[in-house]
């Protein structure tokens, strides 16, 4: 059992998705429109497929929304 903190909430996984790309697929988030941070570091989109995720990582997934 493993935990990833995603957008401030702890999410429990049997097995943590191995890469950021895998996580996004799991969550059904379109990786073309999202910005990701792991433990405070911005992950460039081109690196989603080789960014390794581990138990205890703090992930932020951010996208553009309407705003003034």
């Amino acid at each position: 059992m493993a935990i990833l903190k995603i957008n401030g909430e702890n999410k429990i996984f049997e097995k943590v998705p191995s890469t950021m790309k895998a996580l996004l697929e799991f969550l059904n988030v379109d990786d073309a429109t999202v910005v990701a941070e792991v433990n405070g570091q911005i992950i460039p989109r081109g690196s989603f497929h080789n960014t390794i995720l581990q138990d205890g990582h703090n992930v932020e997934l951010i996208r553009f929304v309407g705003g003034g």
Partner: protein, 256 residues
Amino acid sequence: MKKLIIAGKEFTSRLFIGTGKYSSNKIMAQSIEASATEMVTVALRRVDIQNPQDNMLAAIDRKKYLLLPNTSGARNADEALRLARLARAATDINWLKLEVTPDPYYLLPDPIETLKAAEILVKEGFVVLPYINADPVLAKKLQDIGTATVMPLAAPIGSNQGLKTKAAIEIIIAQATIPVVVDAGLGMPSHAAEAMEMGADAVLINTAIATANDPIKMAEAFKKAVQAGREAFEAGSASVKNHADASSPLTGFLRD
């Protein structure tokens, strides 16, 4: 009408649109089109994991409209810097509306944190458009450090009150060496026209359009108002103010 130039980029439309508060992405897209704008602001928020497919960005045609990410939600310089870097990572756009608003009631911008963040962002290569209260000294300081515009508010965000800060904006315009974009608080097309007649280079409108009964029609009205105001400014008014002063002659000594 003369073109507006910001950081070397030409704009025909002097109306910028915010994308928040619309009832649907579809209405937002139609309003943007009706406004004939060339640049729209967007914000950054956490993806809603429960609703991951909601994607506002898909509704904006990026071939027609420039995206201007804002740092809304930032309460201090550090948070603004983080949002700025996230925005750039997401889109490779280095233009940024810098917005630092610690007070959740009036959403007024923090001058000190804004100046702090602006200085760092300019050094990191961002094209910074800072949202500020109508403070002429702050505006000069931001110009000195190299922001691309200054964006003084007319009234608090969403208040639709019009040019409450008119006297201060006049001073900012008189002293400005970069474009002045009046942003926040403009509630009616007449307010926008007034700002343009005063010599503002552009205006940014969000709430007044998004929350109108017919946003698309309102967007078109604002488009016309901004054009009218700008044309009036370029035409040059002939009106004369009245300054009566009855007193003894001052230049009589020249004839003595």
